[in-house]
Symmetry: C2
Subunit: 405 residues, 2 copies
C-alpha cells in the first residue's frame, strides 16, 4: 500500500485550493464554493454518471476535457444545476468567470455542482465572489475546498498518498462528497483527485476508469444513481518522474497508489452515508468470475432489508442469502459460506447455503461495532470483490423526508 | 371492470378454507396455518420467485404441479422453510399429512411457507393440528385462511370478482400476504387465487403469467425479491361455462376479471408495505414501448430517496426525474412531463424535463393524502404502465431492524 500522508488535494506539488461561502446556501456558516488550481497545465481524466438526466456542468466539463487537458476545477454545493432551463449557460458562465480570474482559457476549467435538483441557479454569487475565491488559493486550502462541496456529509473526506517512481517522490491527493443519492454507475458522486505524477492523458484516462470500477463503483448508500456523479483527476507532472506512456511497471505502481486512495475515499463515503451508523464491507472470495463476485458483493450491501437488520444488530443472515440469490449472475447457491466479522470477533452464520447455528448474544455484540465485514466464500473459483455500504436508519428517513427545507 | 363482490377465496363455487394457530408462531393469538380446498379436482397454475435461493416448498409444489392439477393448498406463516438442511423433507411431509386428512393424493397438494429464513421447521405442529385444520374447513373460512398467512401485514388482502361467461355467473377469489421483501420477479410474495371457471390448464397457465406481469410484478415495497414468492391459482370448473381452451372472447373476459382482482390485490400489498403510510401509484403514459414504460414506472416507485420524500410530503420532483434517468431503457428525458395527483388535486411539477414552478404549500396539502399518483407523460409513443409502491418510513426501519425478536 502506498503511504497515507497528511492533507488532501494540495499534497501533490503545485496544487492550491480554496473554499468559501458565496451565498448559494442560506446558512452563512457553510461553505458552498470550492476551487482547485494547478500552477501548471495538467493532463486530466474524468468519469461521469450514466443517469440519462445529467447535470448541466457535466455537459460543459465533457466539452472542456475533449483535449485531455485542464488546470482548475470549480465546484459549488447547495444547487445541482440540473433540470434547469438555463443550466448549461450558467455552468459556462461559471467557467468564464473562473478563467478570467485565473488568467486561463475557459476550456481549461472543469465545473461541477451538487445539491438540489431543479431549482434555478443564479450566476450572481459566483460573479460577486470569484475574486475572493481566487485570492484565497493556498497550499493549505484543501480542507476549505473539501468543505465547500459537502452537502449532508458529516465529515470531510480528504486523503493523500505518496510513493516512489524513478526515485522521485510522487503524490496523489483526493477529496470527495458523498452521503445520499449514492449508487455510482461508471462514475460516482463527486470526487476530485490531484497528482504531481507525469502521465499521458491516455494512460491517465485508462487508469482512472480501471480504478473507479473497483472502488467508487462498488459503493452504495441508497441505490439511487445521482444525476451529477463525476470523478475528475488532474496530473501536473511536477514530481519529475519519466512520463508514464504505457502500461509498464510505473503504471502499475501509480495504479496501486490510486487504488489505495480511492479505496480509502470509497470506504469513507459509505461510512458517512446519509443517516448511517455503521460501515458495511462485503468481501467476496472464490467467485466464478470477477463480475459475479462484484454483483454478489453489491447486491448484499444494497439490500434495504439487510441494511435495516444491521442497524438493529440482528444477524439475520437469511437476508444476506436472499440478496445473493436475487443478484443477476449464475452460480451455485449451495456452496456458499457466510461469516460475520467485526473488531469483536468472527462468526460463521451459514455453511453450504444453510444456517449453521450461532450464539445470538455473541452476534449482537459482534454487530454492535461500527464496522462490520460480511465475508462470503463462494467456493467456486478464484475471483474476488469488495463492496461498501452502510446501514439503513431512522436518520436516513429523517434526512430524506425533508431534504429541501 | 368485473364486479367486486364480498368474500375472497371461498366466493367461487366449491371452495372451502380454514385457518388456525398450530404453534409455529409463539403468539397464540396469531393464526399460522391456512388451508384452501376445492371439493372437486382443479386445473392449477403457478408462478415462482426467480431468486436462486428458493424456499423448499417451491421445489415440492413445482413437482406436484407438473400435471397442471391440484385440489388443495396448505400454507404456514412464521417460518419460510428456506435454507434448512431438511426443508424439502418437511414440505413433503406437510403435503402427505394434508393429503391423508383430505383423502387426496400428495401430488394434488400445493405447499407454501412464509416467515423467517434459515430456522429449522418442525413437522410436529402440522402433525398435531392437521385434523383440526381439515375439520374447520368451511365456506366462510376464507378470512381465517387469509389471517393464517399474514406476517407483518397490518390488514387482510382478500377480494373476489364476478363476471358472466356463456350466461353463467363465474367468480374469482384471491388472497395474498405482502408487507416486506417485496419486489417480485416473475412471481410474487404469496398469493392464492380460486375460480369456478372451466379453463384448460394450458390456458390457465398462460393467463396467470400474462396477468402477473402487469400486476404483482409491478409492485415493490423494498427492492428485495423474496425467496418464497409464489402465486398459485386453482380453477375447478363448477361455474359450468364452456371450457376455455384457446385465446377467444371468453379468455379475454376471464383475463380482464383476473386483471381486475390482481390489480386490486397488488395495490393493497403496496398500501400495506412494511411501515408504509402512503400508497404510491406511478402511471406512465405515451412511452416508446411497454417495457420502457414499465421500467420507468417501477424505477420511480423503487427509489429510496423518492419514497422518503413522499413520507416527508416533499414534492422533490428532481428525485422522480433522477429515478427515471437511471432506469435501464432508452428514451428522451427532455420530453417528459410529471404531474402529482391525489384526492386533494393535481399539480404539474415538471414539463419537458425541467421544473415548471409550483406552490409549495399546495404541494404539501396534496401530498398529505394517503394515496398519491405520480403521473408521467413521456410524450414519445403509445405504451403505458402502472406500478405500485409505498413510502419509506421510520416504521420500515423499526420493523426490519428487529424482525426476528
Amino acid at each position: 500500500m502506498a503511504k497515507l500522508c497528511e492533507n488532501g488535494i494540495c499534497t501533490p506539488k503545485g496544487f492550491q485550493a480554496s473554499g468559501i461561502h458565496c451565498g448559494i446556501r442560506k446558512n452563512r456558516t457553510k461553505k458552498d464554493l470550492a476551487l482547485i488550481y494547478s500552477e501548471v497545465p495538467c493532463n486530466a481524466a474524468a468519469t461521469y454518471t450514466l443517469n440519462k438526466v445529467k447535470g448541466a456542468p457535466i455537459a460543459v466539463t465533457k466539452q472542456h476535457l475533449q483535449d485531455g487537458k485542464a488546470q482548475a476545477i470549480i465546484c459549488n454545493s447547495g444547487n445541482a444545476n440540473t433540470c434547469n432551463a438555463n443550466g448549461v449557460e450558467i455552468a459556462t458562465q461559471m467557467c468564464a468567470l473562473c478563467a478570467d480570474a485565473l488568467q486561463l482559457a475557459s476550456e481549461d476549467i472543469i465545473v461541477a455542482s451538487t445539491g438540489v435538483i431543479g431549482e434555478p441557479l443564479s450566476i450572481d454569487p459566483f460573479a460577486t465572489h470569484m475574486e475572493e475565491l481566487v485570492t484565497k488559493l493556498s497550499y493549505e486550502g484543501g480542507s476549505d475546498a473539501c468543505e465547500g462541496i459537502m452537502t449532508t456529509d458529516t465529515f470531510k473526506k480528504e486523503f493523500a498518498v505518496s510513493f516512489l517512481l524513478d526515485g522521485k517522490e510522487c503524490h496523489i491527493g483526493g477529496m470527495a462528497k458523498g452521503s445520499g443519492m449514492i449508487h455510482p454507475n461508471m462514475a460516482t458522486m463527486l470526487a476530485f483527485l490531484t497528482s504531481d505524477v507525469a502521465i499521458s492523458s491516455e494512460m491517465l484516462d485508462e487508469v482512472v476508469h480501471e480504478v473507479v470500477n473497483d472502488t467508487f463503483n462498488m459503493v452504495s448508500v441508497d441505490g439511487d444513481t445521482s444525476t451529477n456523479d463525476m470523478l475528475c483527476m488532474l496530473a501536473n507532472g511536477l514530481a519529475g518522474n519519466e512520463v508514464i506512456q504505457e502500461k509498464d511497471a510505473a503504471y502499475a505502481v501509480f495504479k496501486d497508489a490510486l487504488m489505495d486512495i480511492c479505496t480509502e475515499i470509497s470506504r469513507h463515503i459509505a461510512k458517512d452515508g446519509e443517516g448511517a451508523s455503521k460501515l458495511l464491507t462485503c468481501q467476496v472470495v472464490h467467485g466464478n468470475d470477477t463480475m459475479t463476485a462484484k454483483k454478489v458483493a453489491k447486491s448484499v450491501i444494497t439490500s434495504s432489508l439487510f441494511k435495516a437488520a444491521m442497524f438493529g444488530k440482528d444477524a439475520n443472515w437469511g437476508r444476506i442469502l436472499c440478496a445473493i440469490g436475487y443478484c443477476d449472475a449464475q452460480f451455485d447457491i449451495n456452496c456458499i459460506d457466510v461469516t460475520l466479522q467485526s473488531a469483536y470477533g468472527s462468526m460463521p452464520v451459514c455453511v453450504n447455503g444453510a444456517g449453521c447455528g450461532f450464539d445470538e448474544e455473541r452476534a449482537v455484540k459482534l454487530l454492535s461495532e461500527d464496522e462490520i465485514i460480511i465475508f462470503i466464500d463462494m467456493k467456486q473459483g478464484d475471483a474476488k470483490a469488495t463492496a461498501w455500504g452502510c446501514d439503513l436508519t431512522y436518520d436516513y428517513v429523517k434526512i430524506n423526508g425533508d431534504y429541501r427545507t
